[in-house]
Amino acid sequence: MHIPDALAPAATFEEHLPGVLKGTHEFREELTLIVDPADIERAIHFLRDTRGLIYNYLSDISAVDYFDSVKGYGDYGDRPARFGVSYHLYSLLYNRRIRVKTFVDEDVAIPTLTTLWEGANWLEREIFDMMGIHFDGHPNLRRVLMPADWEGHPQRRDYPLGYETVMFSFNADEINKHKPYVKE
């Protein structure tokens, strides 16, 4: 079987989908392609099915929050939005990895990848659960790790780790007043 030569992802993008690629970044030999959230499904579909690219294995989807407790809302340095969502793809054919990254704010939804890989289902659910980022077209966008009635998204940087006050006799009444005991 003839296997076509591997192509450079960024150049192929420019050739076939001009304007979709917003930038590239390379660190420690890891290539990152930056695209707009609305283009994410189109871009990854292109990476998966184009001759010479064939990034056909979904390794991981991770999200990161650039909120800084010192600088506060709105200041994310050189990043255009609060959250970064990184898609890590792997090519079983050419044995190489790539990262596709997009930046979103709280109120922007990203197209789902469940249409391309069913395995994206729970990875996206986890990001919704932990970061509160919505995915458009996801068949079952519910919490996966936290309880269904949990409020807030724990992996956000402005979500405190939280702890319980140690109970002594002088503050026991005050603490008990706020504990969610079952009422008769």
Binding site: F27, R28, E30, T32, N56, Y57, L58, S59, D60, S62, A63, V64, D65, Y66, G84, S86, H88, L92, N95, R97, R99, W117, E118, G119, A120, N121, W122, L123, E126, M130, P139, N140, R143, V144, L145, M146, P147, D149, E151, G152, P154, Q155, R157, Y159, P160, L161, G162, Y163, E164, T165, N171, E174, I175, H178, P180, K183
Partner: protein, 433 residues
């Protein structure tokens, strides 16, 4: 409202019968919530909904499965996880990189070294830290011992689920010996924290290698014993062949990895594809399946145990021929040995800096994946430029494999579910983190 409690408002659980949105709260839940996830026949009551777990012994931990049954046939299966969620990723964000290693043990408690390894590798990649050759060989030996440890627990419990009780006892006997070996290495049997950024915690102890060689001497015979009990056993074959079949295309679409992916015949082993820690210098085979059923996944794991023994043998040989230290001597990242502290002022400064502030990594992101006993375990690490990570995310194989359970089990009998859940080798600490 003045309160001594430091709980943020978002965590307060509303009292009364209404939640914060004004919706009535009930404990029963509604079948309407399941519309679209189970078939419509379940809503009308034609098929039965059965709750399996989270305290069922065959679920290997706290996995809850909501099953829709038509007689004994599974129509749909909804896995529910999170009962073991401990917020490890969130906790690591408040710890320095060296301290975070101990938390990674607690994810996949049957393969702690793999977790240490993937996190350490991510830190090394971000900082550009070197790992001496001797440390790499020790790491390979540890990783393969971990694979044996994990596969032994898997084989024992999987066989016991399907009714072969004695295999369990034999497997745990050998596993006990491996845990003793780990104790010799790092002083801990399960939560080893032995692999650290820059190498391993300390050099091999004197009694480790003789004990390891003794183990390698008798262990291949023990694998023969397990195979004698199972491989040609007609009951075992009846229970496992043709059950839980995954086609190769389906396996890739479901993002399976490890023995579950190779059981379907997809040749993807990160030790071969993207070698780390010097795996390119070892000779070993990657067993592949043909049918993608429970039996193939069993055979692959058994053969992987034999390959691991081969790798460890080669590792011991390499150990004799490699010189060098067991840990990087870059003092900006690795604390100096205790003996140096009495002699060198610089060592004292480095020691103090590393154990108080820790080291800083650049404000960049990396993704590192290695082949854990269960499959591809990945670590996404994003630094801040300071001494604590901005975000660490573990892509764990159990999480992905449990998400595929619905696909794997539909159309099978309820009794086969136990075999399928066993064959994907899920550890709930790994999936829930």
């Amino acid at each position: 409202m003045a309160t001594t409690s430091k709980r943020p408002a978002a965590l307060e659980i509303p009292t009364g019968t209404e939640n914060a949105l004004g919706q009535a709260q009930t404990w029963e839940g509604s079948l309407e919530d399941l519309r679209g996830l189970v078939s419509d026949r379940a809503i009308t009551g034609e098929t039965m909904l059965l709750n399996l777990g989270p305290h069922h012994p065959s679920t290997h931990g706290v996995l809850r499965l909501l099953l829709e049954l038509d007689g004994e046939e599974i129509i749909s299966c909804l896995p529910d996880i999170g009962f073991l969620h401990t917020g490890i990723e969130k906790n690591i964000e408040s710890k320095t990189y060296e301290k975070a290693v101990t938390l990674t043990d607690r994810m996949d408690y049957l393969a702690p070294m793999s977790n240490n390894m993937v996190f350490s590798m991510a830190v090394e990649k971000l900082t550009g830290l070197d790992v001496p050759e001797r440390a790499q060989v020790i790491r390979v030996i540890c990783l393969e011992l971990t694979r044996l440890n994990s596969h032994l627990v898997w084989l024992g419990t999987h066989a016991m689920d399907l009714g072969a009780m004695s295999v369990f006892l034999y497997c745990f006997r050998e596993r006990e010996y491996i845990l003793d070996l780990f104790e010799k290495l790092g002083g801990q049997r399960m939560m080893t924290s032995y692999i650290r950024p820059g190498g391993v915690w300390r050099d091999l102890t004197e009694d480790f290698l003789p004990a390891l060689e003794k183990f390698l001497g008798y262990f291949p015979g023990r694998i023969d014993d397990y195979e004698k009990l199972l491989t040609d056993n007609p009951i075992w074959i009846d229970r496992t062949q043709g059950i839980g079949v995954v086609e190769p295309e389906e396996a890739i679409a479901l993002a399976l990895s490890g023995p579950c992916l190779r059981g379907s015949g997809v040749n993807y082993d990160i030790r071969k594809a993207m070698p780390y820690s010097g795996y390119e210098n070892y000779e070993f085979n990657v067993p592949l399946g043909e049918h993608g059923d429970v039996y193939d996944r069993y055979i692959i794991r058994v053969q992987e145990m034999r390959e691991s023994v081969k790798i460890i043998h080669q590792g011991i040989k390499k150990l004799a021929s490699t010189s060098g230290h067991f840990r990087s001597s870059n003092r900006k990242f690795v604390p100096p040995p205790r003996a140096e502290l009495g002699r060198s002022m610089e060592a004292v400064i480095h020691h103090f800096k590393l154990w108080t502030e820790g080291f800083s990594v650049p404000d960049e992101e990396v993704y590192v994946a290695i082949e854990s006993p269960r499959g591809e375990i990945g670590c996404y690490l994003h630094g801040t430029g300071g001494n604590k990570p901005r975000r660490v995310h573990f892509k764990t194989p159990s999480f992905i494999h449990i998400s595929a359970l619905g696909k794997l089990t539909s159309g099978h009998m309820l009794a086969d579910l136990v075999g399928i859940v066993g064959s994907i080798d899920c550890v709930l600490g790994d999936s829930d983190r």
